[in-house]
Symmetry: C2
Subunit: 163 residues, 2 copies
């Protein structure tokens, strides 16, 4: 199973949410999400005036997939990856910037928020979020259940062969 | 087989190349490509000072795939598609804008060209390219070989059943 690479608990989650809320207030954007690069939503905020957002989990998966897909493009130009993506439609825009190596900040805005402001305050938020997420990286620890399973399986095999 | 939706011949190709060349000169970008949305390169230009570009056909296919992949994202936000994409790496940037419904203008630039200038002159180039490509759309004409094949097959069947 795919597990998130970052887990935000307690204070870290509160702090991240506060950074997103401030970003929305300052930039005039609609929604702000902090995503795991694998597509998990770590934290999200919506502006009070914004309409109901689309399904955030689906959106997160699409954005993470999209960011991964652009890596092939970046490599062709000699970059390890693009650290900034901007998609602009007729009335909506989507801005994504990487937060360290494992997370993405995504800001969704409409025509009422100038792109420049979204980028400026987005970059500021990224700096704060980098500090917050750095300490929340999930360490792939020793998996107790695997030991148990192995011991159980050995015992079973010993029994089967009469050892 | 996938066929390009647009074919630029003679004067149209010359005009498109000239627009791309002017765009490079005014924006300071490295490479400019006019792509079919299916991933075919219709015309391309490189700045004289730019290093050897990466394989343009591969690049075009990746960009067209990428632009198509973002349509799912755009639809989630209620847009039919994003008409502008900007990918920004540490030293390289890639800007794509749609030219009508069937083509894309792609500009690849490095740190020496400000993004704002690339976008400004990119938009101007798009207007010119829209006019040029509008008349070069390939009309899915009557396919002679299909008629021939159908008539041949009918004749064969008639013979088989002794009609």
């Amino acid at each position: 199973m795919v597990e998130p690479a970052i887990a935000l608990f307690g204070g870290a989650y509160e702090n991240a949410s506060q950074v997103l809320e401030e970003l929305l207030r300052e930039s005039g954007a609609r929604y702000a999400l902090l995503l795991d690069r694998k597509g998990f939503v770590l934290a999200h905020k919506e502006a009070l005036w914004a309409p109901r957002p689309p399904a955030l989990d689906s959106l997160a998966t699409l954005i993470a997939g999209n960011a991964a897909a652009t890596q092939a493009l970046a490599k062709m130009l000699g970059e390890s990856r693009f650290n900034e993506l901007l998609h602009q439609g007729a009335t909506h825009g989507l801005y994504a910037e990487e937060v360290g190596e494992l997370a993405l900040l995504v800001v969704i805005f409409d025509n009422s928020a100038p792109v420049g402001r979204v980028k400026l305050f987005g970059k500021r938020a990224v700096q704060a979020l980098e500090v917050i997420t750095r300490d929340s990286v999930v360490q792939p620890g020793t998996l107790g259940i695997d030991h148990e399973y192995r011991d159980g399986a050995s015992a079973l095999l010993d029994e089967l062969f009469g050892n």
